[in-house]
Symmetry: C2
Amino acid sequence: MRIGFVIYQGMTLLDFAGVYDPVTRLESMDFMPDLVWELCAFTAQVKDNIGLEIVPTKVGEPLDRYDIIIVPGGFGSRKMLEDENFIQWLKTAEPCPLKASVCTGSLLLGKAGFLRGKKATTHPFAFVELSKFCSSVVDARIVDEGDVITARGVSSSIDLGLYLCEKLVGEQSKEAIRRQIDYQ
Amino acid sequence: MRIGFVIYQGMTLLDFAGVYDPVTRLESMDFMPDLVWELCAFTAQVKDNIGLEIVPTKVGEPLDRYDIIIVPGGFGSRKMLEDENFIQWLKTAEPCPLKASVCTGSLLLGKAGFLRGKKATTHPFAFVELSKFCSSVVDARIVDEGDVITARGVSSSIDLGLYLCEKLVGEQSKEAIRRQIDYQ
């Protein structure tokens, strides 16, 4: 199982960290010892929306090799929506069996065409923007359409992470990881 | 107002990101336009407990210039407890009016002597370890001793962030930021 965490200039760190934490514990807590992941960026330098720099492990490589890609949101997502090269790169994830997003990350999934005919969610302040990319916008913490899962605002990232733990391994792993991260 | 976010090798990213997000929104959402912060490390390279690299903005500089320092936890905290140079560096935060921690970050505050005679909390799995550094261990999400505030496990980081927003600016800012990060 290979996960590609998509990171980009102007993303919100918590959108990423909230799902990265529980999902990677599937490996560190031995529920999924063969889980591997990469931090996938289109450009070598990635800073969050307020300047914090994190270092990608893969730069500009196609995303088709992952079982799951996960795309965070953030103010920078608006700029990426207009960045044709970034969107073309994101489209290389088309063959990935599962695409997930947090917050306005769903706008990017939408722009790449991955939400066509599907229900989806995003930050409540971006519902109108999302509506042009999907069949309907749902006001829910997590919207699971099988091959696409979208989560609502920033902190719903943790919920997405735990949801993926349950989906990938089962209720027991989710509950153990929830306790480990002291999430209520 | 100057905040020093302490980051170190082996920390848990979510311990940091959960408090960093709401607190820095005090600036980006104009509640505290003069808020500045640094990512303070003792060594130039900082990777979280599973290898993700984040880039510090200050390396090895004394911590006495901050109004608040915030220390995350993580498996790496155990190694730092034994790293005399790191602990000496952390002790330079002694004059800071407020010291805060998430999860096992409180063990580091304790080792630096900042919890003497105070109540504190940490991850429930580390209550016994913490007990030698403080007057009593409290099983609460947040323990506020005025000049030292400790938060429980990993995800309590978000609660600490919102708690600090309220403490620094007031209920209204906390509530606006809570909505902005869609925290329930």
